[in-house]
Symmetry: C2
Subunit: 210 residues, 2 copies
């Protein structure tokens, strides 16, 4: 089973590494980081580069595709070479997945029309413009399309996928070995739970009504 | 404020990227990935390389040090150049931190003697051999030393640190923007919660009594 994690300039690192750390522990999985060109690809904050070991041409038929998000989705959602690779990979994939605004990239490739999907909470309105039925859920399965909410949700998505593919016991083992027993010191991880003025500030930043 | 994330061959990617994604959102933070030599450093599974942008010599006085763990800690815990850099950086750091078996590396550098600390649940016995008081807690503060349990716990540690450094409201904002509202599909993330036979299997693998 081949897992391909897409890299492109400006991706959010945890969007890629969270699900990677979980699903690359699937039995007999080969995981490859793939980009337009092989070599280092820098993240959104510019302070970390991950290496793409493979080019698009070298990974035409992955079984699982993982698309991380970015705070600056305009360039990648207009990049036909990236969208073409996604459409090609999706044609034969078993699972096509995204984290955070990665769903906008899947949407731009035309892969989420009429499908239930999720995204970063600030990007749900935009997701609808690609014909998706946007939900605020953390992990959404619609057939082989699996989308996760903001940044850290890719870890939850990874465990769901491992469970579906390799069974509950394997997923529980991965959860134990990665000690995913979350104990955040705050309960502010969604717009329903965070302080209202913090949510309002960020909605205003995005030009959204509160 | 300068944050230095240590890289060394065989590190676990999420150990580094989890806390990175959180604490690099501190106000006025500069985050650098540092290693013995600049360039790509490959992870434990061999399927991902992160780029160290700086050498040890270039980062002598970081304010925060983050040490990720590894399943193969022998080489790095015996590497005097790495341990020397850690001791130097620690001499002036505000916070010296680790995730997972990164605490064994801090221990090997002699930095955890007599201190309360944590590690991956399978490494707590080993942690004691470095003179630390090993606890099974997820995040442990002892003065400026902050240690986190296995792999994913670095995200929780990051939020604790952001709260201590920049206040609750900033930490809640980071939690909201990274949508850290965990909803794992299983409750198996600690040896107390996972199926007993899974825990026993891994303890036996490590040569530990159940």
């Amino acid at each position: 089973m081949q897992i391909a994690v897409l890299l492109y300039p400006g991706f959010t690192a945890l969007d890629a590494v969270g699900p990677f750390e979980i699903i690359s522990r699937l039995p007999d999985a080969e995981t490859v980081f793939v980009a337009k060109e092989a070599g280092p690809v820098r993240n959104d904050m510019g302070n970390l580069a991950l290496v793409a070991d493979r080019t698009f041409a070298e990974v035409p038929r992955p079984d699982i595709v993982v698309v991380p998000g970015t705070g600056d989705w305009d360039p990648v959602t207009r990049d036909e070479e990236t969208l073409d690779w996604l459409r090609t990979a999706d044609a034969t994939s078993t699972w096509t997945t995204s984290v955070c605004t990665g769903s906008l990239i899947l949407g731009a490739a035309g892969l989420l029309r009429g499908r239930r999907a999720t995204s970063h909470w600030l990007a749900l309105d935009l997701l609808k413009t690609y014909g998706a039925e946007a939900t605020g859920e953390r992990v959404v399965f619609d057939g082989k399309y699996v989308t996760a909410a903001g940044v850290s949700s890719g870890i939850d998505m990874g465990l769901h996928l491992v469970g579906r593919i390799a069974g509950d016991r394997h997923a529980q083992t991965v959860q134990l070995l990665t000690e995913y027993d979350p104990q955040p010191p705050y309960d502010a991880g969604s717009p329903e739970k965070a302080p209202a003025e913090v949510v309002a500030f960020w909605r205003a930043e995005m030009g959204q009504a509160s």
